[in-house]
Each structure stands twice: as structure tokens, then as C-alpha cells.
């Protein structure tokens, strides 16, 4: 048997959430920084493939390598801690407070952002020969993405903002399914397969992932995207992060917790009426 019973991995999720809340500041920041950076590199990789082949499918198929790498190395993404940490709070683990959860989210956000920004700066330097050329087709592609997914939402006002929010929800439904899937399997191969499927789905459908966007939009601005930092933060990062939180928690964390940790009693089975056995009389 190379996978866990649901009740086993469900408590493992709560344990993992608890452990993250008790993690030291240094470890939280370092792990978040590395996660942000690796995911950003994977995004560059996927965009390069898409511009070279012109086929988004191939980029999406290969994008999950980044996620697998960072998960196997034990780094933390904001989307993951959104799902896991509140479970420890719900399970009333001693010492776990709302403040502790928010502290963890804040630190992971900062770490992810710093990691993603580092890659954005390094890669923009590489693509533009130290900011001397225009960056070629990739720059154009990224700038286009950035404008479409900020000003594009802004053009529809509140409806656009909520579109981004819902795309964020759908994204973390998928991504956190990957995180949980990886916990179910006990082998590296199984973990990779379990993570690969949902990540592929979310990337191909261009759902909004708060950490990927922490790279994509700063990179887009550097590469000449025509939108402001304020546009990015308000029209994209904010609804995405909130959507990620709601989607991951509602669709994955809470559902699994509610059914596998706080399992309810089975409904009473219908009592079958005893078959009246009349003594066989001659």
C-alpha cells in the first residue's frame, strides 16, 4: 500500500498546519523565499515554452516541475499555508491563535514576494542583456499578460474584480488538492503524479495563483507592461490572494477536515424486520 487512509492524512494536514505556526521566523522566511523563487523560475520556463511553441498546452504540461521541486524540498507557498494553518486553529491545538495564523501568512507572503521579485529582476536582466535590448517576444508576451489581467479586470469594475477573485478560488482549489494529494502518497513518484495533475489543470485554464502573480506582474512591469503597481495590487494580487484563501479553505481544507477528522456517526441502518419464522408444522 503506497498511500494513506483518509483519516491518516487528514490528521497529517492538521499536524502540518500546526507545525507551520510553530516554525521560527527565520525558517518561515527562508522556506517561503525559496518557494517563491522556484515557482517564479518555473513560470519563466513555462512562458518560454509557450512563446517558442505557440502552444499553451505544452507549457502547462511542464509547469508543474516547479511546484514538485519546491514541495519535495519542503518549501512553503502562501496557497499551501492558507489551507493548512486554519485547520490547526479549528482543531483547537494548544498555543495556536488567530494571531499565530496571521503571523505565518504575513511572513510567507513577504518571503514568497521577495523570492518571486528576485527572480523577476534576475530574469529581466538576462532577457534584456542588462536592460540594453527590448527583451524580444517573451517580453512582449509577458507585458501583454500583465495588462490583460489587471486593466482587463479593471475595465469591468466590480465584476472584473470578482472574476479575478473567483479565478483565485478555482486556482487554490486545484493547487491545494495537489498539496493534499502529495500527502496521501508515501513515495516520491506518487507524490509527483498527485501534484502534477491539478497544477496542470490550473495553469492551462489561467486561474490566478497569488505567488505566480507575485512574479508575473512585477516582471511584466519591468518588461514594459503599461499598468501601475497600484493596478496590479488592487486589481490582481488582492482578489487573487483572497480568492486563493477562500477557495483552498472552502473546497479542500474544510471539507476534508469536516469529513475525515470530525467524522460524524453513520446514519442508523434500517432495521430489517426479523423474518417471522413459523415452525414448520406438518
Amino acid at each position: 500500500m503506497a498511500y494513506l487512509a483518509p483519516a491518516e492524512f487528514a490528521t497529517k494536514m492538521v499536524d502540518a498546519g500546526e507545525a507551520k505556526i510553530f516554525m521560527s521566523t527565520k525558517d518561515t522566511i527562508v522556506r517561503a523565499y525559496m518557494a517563491g523563487a522556484i515557482l517564479a523560475l518555473a513560470a519563466v520556463f513555462a512562458i518560454t515554452i509557450i512563446t517558442q511553441t505557440g502552444n499553451p498546452l505544452i507549457g502547462s504540461i511542464l509547469f508543474p516541475v516547479g511546484f514538485c521541486m519546491l514541495y519535495l524540498l519542503g518549501f512553503d507557498l502562501l496557497t499551501g499555508v492558507f489551507v493548512l494553518c486554519p485547520l490547526a486553529l479549528l482543531d483547537k491545538r494548544p498555543g495556536v491563535t488567530v494571531g499565530g495564523v496571521l503571523r505565518n501568512w504575513g511572513l510567507v507572503f513577504v518571503g514568497n514576494f521577495a523570492g518571486a521579485l528576485t527572480v523577476a529582476i534576475l530574469m529581466s536582466f538576462v532577457f534584456t542583456m542588462g536592460y540594453n535590448t527590448d527583451g524580444g517576444p517573451i517580453a512582449k508576451k509577458v507585458a501583454g499578460i500583465g495588462e490583460a489581467r489587471t486593466l482587463g479586470f479593471a475595465a469591468y469594475g466590480a465584476a472584473g474584480w470578482f472574476t479575478c477573485f473567483v479565478r483565485g478560488m478555482l486556482c487554490n482549489w486545484m493547487v491545494s488538492t495537489g498539496v493534499v494529494g502529495a500527502m496521501i502518497s508515501t513515495h516520491v513518484s506518487g507524490k509527483v503524479i498527485a501534484m502534477w495533475m491539478p497544477i496542470f489543470v490550473f495553469f492551462y485554464m489561467t486561474f490566478e495563483h497569488s505567488v505566480v502573480n507575485m512574479f508575473l506582474f512585477p516582471f511584466s512591469i519591468i518588461m514594459g507592461g503599461d499598468f501601475s503597481v497600484g493596478d496590479y495590487l488592487f486589481w490582481n494580487e488582492l482578489p487573487t490572494a483572497l480568492g486563493n484563501l477562500v477557495g483552498g479553505l472552502a473546497f479542500t481544507g474544510l471539507t476534508l477536515y469536516a469529513t475525515h477528522v470530525r467524522t460524524s456517526e453513520d446514519r442508523p441502518r434500517p432495521v430489517t424486520a426479523p423474518i417471522a419464522s413459523t415452525p414448520a408444522s406438518a
Partner: protein
């Protein structure tokens, strides 16, 4: 009843103080029958306390009885060699600690030191364990062959020292060898009082002479050595193999050595002589079931390793060790392992069932317990901890989930899976390299900075539990686990109970603060002192209502001191002319 094909031996033993006043030799044997004969075999052991020490008789007795008891409670899944080595390492560490804690440690010739030789006969093999200068021989064709080497360092013809023995150092190098048995084979164990004064030929002669019993043969060996002028204690044990099991039995045993994992267990199923009643808990580490032992109709608890950790060798080793530890500790407040005559066919643990709730649940049900309730709980946990500490073990994972409380308020400490057993460090370090032993909320700060663990580490956990019982919160919140450097630990501040539960007398707070100090050296020397201080206000606390400034605020203290010195310098400068 032993089957006709079981291993059967004849045993003769004799021990005498000889020309000395006391007999510092100790010997014993356990002729197991039935399934234990098959899984664990027959053990014969002998120890010789060093003559320069007054307590060595105790050491010899502890070594032999400890070996015979502990060896038979090792997990079935362990090999003979592994089991006996673990038991001897633990015995050695215990003896060494006994010496270290008394004044005997200042004299290398005094202390809890003894030689040790044992034979474990299992199936068709003899396993020999030996340290020191007692000997194990085999009789073959009327000649004796010495199977062990003398761990003796000879300075001159007159002077020699034991180079290896139990209890000298915290680690011991045990000589091990195996021997294939045949029916009629004879083994002889002797202490130096016998073999120093009789040559091998005369011993072989005595062994081959017809005698009414093997005891008589052992007696003759001792008498002959006495006549030859022996001035030491004399002990001889003669073992003769009378019947050996068939090969098939050996094979069943080999299968036992590679026990499979249990299948997924469901309520109502029958498993290895148990009827599964219901699931108690499922966690990422193990699944725990309530079951009924069908032979005794007794309610027991079965613990099965989780699927996640079945590939983790270190974790499995600890899992098997846990049951062994539970069977070593004999205390009403510590969970006991259930021993059954029927051998296990899968990897799992059986412990007694405690009809009660965890302390976590109890705290939910009793949000505001009385001080007396808390005292009673703390006192009982302290007793459980003392039972472990007396065996030099540390619990290391004391938390409300691992403390059961029944209707009458009786406490049972469970889950010895993280316990630290001296002598078995190499097991522990591998399992603990990746994980902290316990749970971050209750684990003492020294674990987070790689500090020295001691009984004070368990005291910290107990202090945290007591604090939580009284106010539902933790004395340092979640901060202990986050402080992973000594500098960060210095910044941790105890949150006084007074602000959280104003009904309590202030001296309770002082006792809790002392038990949960970050620096283990500032905690109580003994857990019993903590328990005592929870009951009566310590005069120390009454006198010292406020700690000195240097403890409360070292920065302010040094700032103040520096300011004073600056003023003095200024004054001196002004007064100079």
C-alpha cells in the same frame, strides 16, 4: 507443554562464596517453555562482581536478573542478538549511572561493576554474549574449548585488570558469537574462581564423569577448584542439550523475524486472537483500536503503525521499542504492555485499556478545575515520571493527549514512543535526527537549541501542563518552538498566571514559573520539589516577593550601574583640581 520437537536442555548450577565472606557471583537461568521457547529461547547467565567493590554483588545480581527479565520482554520482531545487545547496553548504562551518582565514582576500583557471560539457546543455535573474565566453554571429544576471550589487561604476573566489564564506562563493547548446536553438546560457564585454579583437562574430566545430576557435576567442579586453593567466589553452570527442534520450527521462527504489517482492521473483525471493537484514534503516526483478547476476554488496546511510516526503519524500531519500554516500567500511573503466551504474527503493540479520557478532553469538560484537582493530576503524572526517571529514562513527549484520566481521577501516562533510554542512543538519534522527539507546545526549550536533556526537560513539560490546566493557555504561547537560538530564548518571557486566573494564590505562579524556566539549571532539582511547592507556599517565595533587578531586567541593571560609574568618574574629574 513443550512439543516433542522443542528445544530441551539439562542444567546444573552451583555457586559458593569459597574462602571469602560474601559471594559476589550471581547466576540464573530461564528455561522457557512453549511458544516463548520458540520465539525467545532459553537463557543462562552468570556475573561476577569485582572483589574490590562492596556493591558489586548488587551489580552482579542486577545484571543477571535484569538480563533474564528484560530479554524476555523484548519485541518478538527483534533478533536474539539485537534483543540481548539492547538489554545489555541498557543494563550497562544503568549500572554506570548508579556509580556516577554516588561517591563511588571517585575510585575506579569501587562501584557497580561486574563481568557478564550469557548463553541464549534458541532453535538450533547458541548465542553467546560476554564481557569480562568469566568464561564459556564447550565440551567436545573430552576436551574443553574456550569460546570467549578474557577481557583482561595483564600488567605483570601478579597484577592484572579487567579491561572490559559492565558498568565501567557508559558504553560497553560486548563480545558476541554464534554456535550451531547438536544433541548431547555440553556448555560450561564459570567464573574466575573456578577456571583460574583448574586446568581445562581436569575440568573436562569432571564433566565427562558419570554423575547423579548436572547440579552434582557443577558442585564437583567448584569443590575441585576449592581444593586446588581457590580463594575467590566460585560459580559453575553446566548446560547439556537434550533435544533440538526440527528444522521446520526454525523456519517458523525466521518468518517471525520478518513480521508483516497487519491488514486494515475494521470493527467486528477477528485478528491474531483479538476481536476488534472500535477505532480509538487514528493519527499520522499510528492507528489505535480497542479490542478484546479472545483468550482472556480482557479489554486491550492495539496500536498499529501508520501506513505513512511503514517504510521508515528508524520509526519502526522505535515502535517496537515502545512496547519493550512499557513492559520494563512497573508503575500504576504508566501504561503497561500486555504479554500474551501466543506469539504475534504481525507488527503491532498490545497495552492495557484505560477506561478514561485524555487530559485534553478533560480540560474541555472542566474549564475551571479546582486547585486540588490540578494538584492531584500533577502529583500522579510526577509519580509516573519518577518511575521512568528511576530507570534513567525520559518520557520526552508528555502532553495532555498522552495523559489519560479515568472516572475516579486516576492518571495513566501513555505513549512511550519518544522515550529516551540511555544505552540505546544510536536508535534514538537516527529516529530523532529528522524530528523533535515530542510536541512543540510542551517540549522543553533545550531541545530546540540542541541542549542537554535531563529529567528537568520532563519537568518543563509537566509545568506547562499544570499551567494549562489552571488557565487553559501556555506559559510562553507558541514562542518556545520559534526561539531556535540561545539569544532568542533569552528574550522569552513567562506570562504570569495572575493576569489569566486571578483567583489563584500568587505562590502557585512562582512554582509554575520555576518549573518552566527556560534555563534548565534554574528549574527545580527534583520534580517532587515542584509538587511540594504547589501544595505549600515555599518560604523562599514568601521572602522573595520580587526577584532582584538583575534578574527582572538585566539591561536596566547594567545601565544603572554604568550611569552610577559615569557619575563617579565625573565627580572624580571635577574633584581632581
Amino acid at each position: 507443554m513443550t512439543a516433542p520437537s522443542a528445544l530441551r536442555v539439562g542444567l546444573g548450577q552451583y555457586s559458593s562464596a569459597g574462602r571469602k565472606d560474601t559471594n559476589q557471583d550471581f547466576h540464573g537461568a530461564l528455561l522457557a517453555e512453549g511458544s516463548v521457547n520458540e520465539t525467545k529461547g532459553i537463557a543462562i547467565a552468570l556475573a561476577d562482581g569485582i572483589s574490590s567493590s562492596a556493591v558489586s554483588r548488587d551489580a552482579a545480581e542486577a545484571a543477571v536478573t535484569g538480563f533474564l527479565n528484560d530479554y524476555y520482554s523484548t519485541p518478538e520482531a527483534w533478533s536474539t542478538k539485537h534483543s540481548a545487545m539492547r538489554v545489555l547496553e541498557a543494563t550497562n548504562a544503568w549500572l554506570h549511572r548508579q556509580t556516577q551518582r554516588t561517591a563511588l565514582r571517585f575510585d575506579r576500583n569501587k562501584g557497580y561493576v561486574c563481568t557478564f557471560s550469557a548463553v541464549v539457546l534458541k532453535s538450533t543455535t547458541a548465542h553467546l554474549f560476554h564481557v569480562g573474565d568469566s568464561r564459556i566453554y564447550r565440551l567436545e571429544d573430552r576436551t574443553l574449548e574456550q569460546l570467549t576471550s578474557d577481557h583482561r589487561y595483564r600488567v605483570s604476573d601478579e597484577e592484572s585488570f579487567l579491561s572490559r566489564a559492565l558498568g565501567i564506562e557508559s558504553y560497553v563493547d560486548i563480545e558476541y558469537s554464534e554456535l550451531v548446536l547438536e544433541v548431547g553438546a555440553t556448555l560450561l560457564l564459570t567464573t574466575d574462581g573456578v577456571h583460574e585454579f583448574l586446568d581445562e583437562r581436569s575440568m573436562a574430566e569432571i564433566l565427562t564423569q558419570p554423575a547423579p545430576s548436572l547440579d552434582a557435576t557443577a558442585n564437583r567442579l567448584v569443590t575441585a577448584a576449592l581444593e586446588a586453593g581457590s580463594y575467590d567466589n566460585l560459580t559453575a553452570q553446566v548446560v547439556r542439550i537434550e533435544a533440538l527442534p526440527e528444522r521446520s520450527a526454525t523456519e517458523t521462527y525466521r518468518q517471525l523475524n520478518e513480521l508483516p504489517f497487519p491488514p486494515a482492521l475494521r470493527p467486528g473483525e477477528h485478528f491474531d486472537g483479538f476481536k476488534i471493537c472500535r477505532v480509538l484514534t487514528v493519527s499520522a503516526r499510528s492507528s489505535v483500536f480497542l479490542a478484546i483478547d479472545e483468550a482472556s476476554q480482557q479489554r486491550v488496546v492495539l496500536k498499529v503503525p501508520s501506513v505513512d511510516l511503514r517504510d521508515d526503519v528508524a520509526h519502526l524500531e522505535r515502535f517496537l521499542l515502545e512496547e519493550w519500554i512499557a513492559s520494563r516500567v512497573d508503575n500504576p500511573h504508566v501504561i503497561t504492555a500486555v504479554r500474551r503466551t501466543q506469539p504475534k504474527r504481525h507488527i503491532y503493540q498490545v497495552t492495557e485499556y484505560v477506561d478514561g479520557a485524555t487530559l485534553t478532553q478533560w480540560m474541555r469538560d472542566n474549564a475551571r478545575p479546582t486547585l486540588d484537582q490540578v494538584r492531584s493530576i500533577v502529583k500522579q503524572i510526577a509519580r509516573a515520571l519518577r518511575a521512568l526517571h528511576r530507570l534513567e529514562m525520559l518520557h520526552q513527549d508528555l502532553r495532555p493527549d498522552n495523559v489519560l484520566i479515568d472516572r475516579h481521577g486516576t492518571i495513566t501516562v501513555i505513549d512511550l514512543g519518544s522515550a529516551y533510554v540511555p544505552g540505546l542512543e544510536e536508535l534514538g538519534t537516527r529516529a530523532q535526527a529528522q524530528h523533535m522527539p515530542g510536541t512543540p507546545q510542551y517540549l522543553a526549550p533545550e531541545y530546540f537549541v540542541g541542549g542537554h536533556r535531563s529529567t528537568r526537560s520532563d519537568q518543563f513539560s509537566l509545568g506547562v501542563i499544570a499551567y494549562q490546566l489552571l488557565c487553559g493557555q501556555l506559559p510562553y504561547g507558541a514562542d518556545v518552538a520559534r526561539a531556535t537560538s540561545p539569544a532568542a530564548q533569552k528574550r522569552l518571557r513567562y506570562r504570569p498566571l495572575r493576569g489569566r486566573n486571578s483567583e489563584l494564590p500568587p505562590w502557585i505562579d512562582l512554582a509554575l514559573e520555576k518549573a518552566t524556566r527556560i534555563d534548565p539549571m534554574h528549574r527545580y532539582d527534583e520534580i517532587s520539589e515542584f509538587v511540594h511547592d504547589l501544595e505549600t507556599p515555599s518560604s523562599r517565595f514568601l521572602r522573595q516577593d520580587q526577584p532582584p533587578l538583575i534578574e527582572r531586567n538585566p539591561v536596566a541593571f547594567w545601565q544603572g550601574l554604568s550611569a552610577t560609574l559615569a557619575l563617579v568618574i565625573l565627580a572624580l574629574l571635577i574633584l581632581r583640581d
